[in-house]
């Protein structure tokens, strides 16, 4: 029978700083390679609509006639599918997840 098995661990952690951070006052450390918010370099886009066709959640809408690229941020699941199919490589996922939103608006580029 062993009692107080955790005493060593508890004593050690009494003198350490917490592993948790003061989010949102302290921003989260972004891990390189993390799939976050979708970003587009609109000057390189040729409006081929491939990204919109392959998007599994229909979060993208490409207007070929008016040369506009729309995204519904709340639908996007950051799956990287559009980034993989883009022939001009103008799409990429940033590490951060963007700010919270209260309205379901389409963002236009």
């Amino acid at each position: 029978m062993a009692f107080f098995q955790m005493k060593k661990m508890i004593l050690a952690w009494t003198f350490r700083t917490p592993v948790t951070t003061k989010y949102p006052f302290e921003p989260r450390k972004i891990c390189p390679g993390s799939r976050g918010r979708l970003d587009i370099k609109i000057s390189d886009c040729i409006f081929c609509t491939l990204c919109a066709k392959r998007c599994p959640t229909q979060a993208l809408n490409v207007d070929r006639t008016n040369k506009k690229w729309h995204i519904d941020r709340l639908r996007c699941i950051s799956c990287n599918c559009c980034v993989e199919v883009c022939p001009k490589k103008c799409l990429h996922l940033t590490g951060d997840h963007g700010i919270p939103t209260v309205t379901k608006d389409w963002e236009t580029f």
Binding site: M6, C31, P56, I77, S78
Partner: protein, 359 residues
């Protein structure tokens, strides 16, 4: 004989992360019968195969469960690949093995934390989850996602782990292993933990087999059965023997999971050492035509996928039998005759994942 009373347990209960309802028929403080009912979070994911094409459905399959997400995706992909006779590159198989085992480590650490929380050991719960966070960081760095990995696709994987990242991952795993050892020592030796787990919810080997228990619930009753013995992904090339304990009580099931943490670390090391260079995915053309039962070992046990295609881009039938569904009958057996205060601990020992079960 005392008066029989029915006490409802769930769907909302402090130990339950997800909703399951159990009617407990109690006599004084003893449970004489337990009647489970599910159906609170049915999402109709199986029917979605009619709307999503078979390649897009990987994203849905991964979202069946929030904890074993990668293995759900892997099971689906393996099933479709088997129907379409796609030969997956060996490197992709090893990568799937590594990510699958990482997800097993994080799932078992999550369970250990929840278990500690269920019997009121708050500091142990926090330390388990602190270590789990380190594993999630490894997963995020290699796949890009913390919970939904999104790295498995039909025909291979979508990401590679380069050599330098692999050596970083192995170094990090060494630290994680040391930290896990400290936590596991408490779970295995501390008197207060043993007091809550030893001899509670005993299920015999015969009962475990006849009631169709899977995963650690089955192995905790002395049956060394594990789907990884089917040698899917890279398990055929790795040295693997399932862990089993003979007592059949809650402590055995906990011990199986604790031992599997270190076994998974060992499997990742073996896979990293044997992983060949080469392609990580092959191009997929055509549509699945045929049917297949895909069986894979999840952290909670064996998952069975039935996939049927008719040559179109949409599958005609998809069915998932998840480990929790198989472990409900053994749970009912365990609950009959237990003390009312042990019910939360017993419900947790099967590692219930209700979202999986109801799909």
């Amino acid at each position: 004989m005392g008066t029989r009373t029915i006490i409802p347990f769930g769907p909302q209960h402090p130990v339950l992360p997800e909703p399951i309802h159990i009617d407990l028929v109690v006599e004084d403080e003893k449970v004489v019968e337990a009647v489970p009912s599910i159906g609170f979070i049915h999402r109709g994911l199986e029917r979605l195969v009619e709307k999503k094409d078979y390649i897009e459905y990987v994203y849905v399959a991964e979202r069946i469960c929030g904890i074993c997400s990668f293995i759900h995706g892997q099971t689906y992909c393996q099933g479709v690949e088997e129907i379409m006779k796609i030969e997956v590159p060996t490197r992709a198989k090893y990568l799937r093995t590594i990510w699958g085992e990482l997800s097993r480590i994080h799932s078992h650490l999550l369970w250990l934390g929840l278990m500690a929380d269920a019997f009121g050991f708050e500091s142990l719960f926090m330390h388990s989850w602190r270590v789990r966070e380190q594993v999630l960081d490894l997963i995020e760095a290699t796949t890009g996602g913390r919970v939904i990995f999104g790295s498995c696709k039909v025909g291979g994987t979508r990401r590679d782990i380069p050599a330098e990242q692999m050596s970083w991952l192995l170094a990090q795993l060494e630290t994680v292993e040391k930290e896990m050892q400290l936590i596991v020592d408490v779970f295995m030796n501390d008197n207060s933990v043993k007091h809550r787990l030893c001899g509670v919810g005993v299920i015999s080997k015969e009962d475990a087999i006849s009631l169709g228990a899977v995963g650690p619930t089955l192995r905790g009753s002395g049956v060394a059965d594990d789907m990884r013995l089917l040698k899917y992904a890279a398990f055929g090339n790795l040295d693997f023997q399932p862990i089993s304990k003979t007592d059949g009580d809650s402590y055995s099931r906990c011990a199986v999971r604790c031992a599997e943490l270190f076994q998974s670390v060992d499997l990742i090391r073996q896979a990293a050492a044997k992983m060949p260079e080469g392609e990580i995915a092959v191009k997929v053309t055509g549509n699945p035509d045929g049917e297949f039962f895909s069986r894979v070992e999840q952290p909670r046990g064996e998952v069975v996928y039935y996939i049927k295609g008719n040559g179109t881009k949409n599958l005609t039938r998809f069915r998932a039998r998840t480990p929790t569904f198989a472990n409900v009958p053994p749970l009912v057996k365990m609950l009959a005759g237990c003390e009312l205060a042990d019910v939360p601990v017993l419900v947790l020992t099967i590692d219930p994942c209700i979202s999986c079960t109801e799909r």
